[in-house]
Assembly symmetry: C2
Homo-oligomer: 211 residues x 2
Amino acid sequence: MAEPTDIPRAVIQRISIYLRQLERLTVDDVETISSAQLGKAIGSSDAQVRKDLAYFGQFGRRGVGYNVPALARALRTILSLDREWRVALVGAGNIGRALCTYRMFRERGFRIVALFDDDPRKEGCTWGRLKVRPMRDLARVVRNERIELGIIAVPQAGAQAVAEQLIAAGVRGILNFAPIRIHPPGGVEVCSVDLAIELQQLAFLTAHLHR
Amino acid sequence: MAEPTDIPRAVIQRISIYLRQLERLTVDDVETISSAQLGKAIGSSDAQVRKDLAYFGQFGRRGVGYNVPALARALRTILSLDREWRVALVGAGNIGRALCTYRMFRERGFRIVALFDDDPRKEGCTWGRLKVRPMRDLARVVRNERIELGIIAVPQAGAQAVAEQLIAAGVRGILNFAPIRIHPPGGVEVCSVDLAIELQQLAFLTAHLHR
DNA sequence: AGTTGTGAACTGATTCACAGCC
DNA sequence: GGCTGTGAATCAGTTCACAACT
């Protein structure tokens, strides 16, 4: 077992993927699975599965494998998905709308409880149950709504300022969709999704594919 | 210099990021930059920058640094961004809409030239210049429009089938937003963006942050 | 017999450090 | 003096291989 802080990000990502697969297996009433089967389903090796799990403890029975519902429960706890996460979304544009309605967020316990945008034309509009609020309300709402995570879905130009405001308001984790690097102070985590870079990488790989 | 096929994905991603930074510098009329400066701007070391570039050739002048516009040009060529990429988007939902209007795709030469969705209520609707077409038209349109890349923005259940249809239609690269692993045959590249996993990773990191 | 858990070996990526050039 | 390009050294992540257990 290891300190949570020195677990590689790749391991955490794979643990998330194992959990998703285990939940599918639970629906199909599969009781038990081996590391080899689980690895095959998600595209890694048996050894990789076992090593990843070993960061967090011992979950299997030798000669048998892993109990599917029990392992799923354990992984949910490890990933802190056994509780609700309250989230602020900044940016009421097209990406914001897509994230707002993304089912899998809600299924996993992520609740977008506040929506911000500084475009005065959007202010006061409602998206489902959410009202678009101006950025000047951010700090107050984050505090009152006990919001822990922020999502940045604004264009590049505004993103750095939004990050600073989220951090100042007390948010502890940020998911950033803007194409900039955010330098958080200690005590704040940032994960970034850079759509243009993903597509560029795909273009490179495709162009150099020997058919 | 190395064969394009054995360049790590991480290197390609960083090269994309260097290019973005260089284009910002070009706008600001910066002529020359050192590996240390470039690295600092995007959060890696000087040695990392030089090693990454070394996969593709020699671009700098010792004692001086790199010429910004020249290096940007070279990186655009390396990444195959010096041409247009024709793209099919499958899934006229919220994520599809966000991708359709995403500026940075267009700025980089990616043109979404066809939009598909099998929901009959959406069929025939238009998004900007794009008409929503049924999946049965996919193969013909991909051929006629000389489409090389596909984006999957449909829910999990349909994603595998969509991938197969795209591949059968002759697409050579796929950007996948559905939460499944796609097993492409040789000659096809897949990159995946898994939004739920990104947010879960953020939750894990945030939960285990020693404040 | 079958499968886990894990130290050891290996592979790949990053950082170091310095020769070579401007 | 300053900075690149690169081999050598280090570090991290993955795979191997087998003892321990059911």
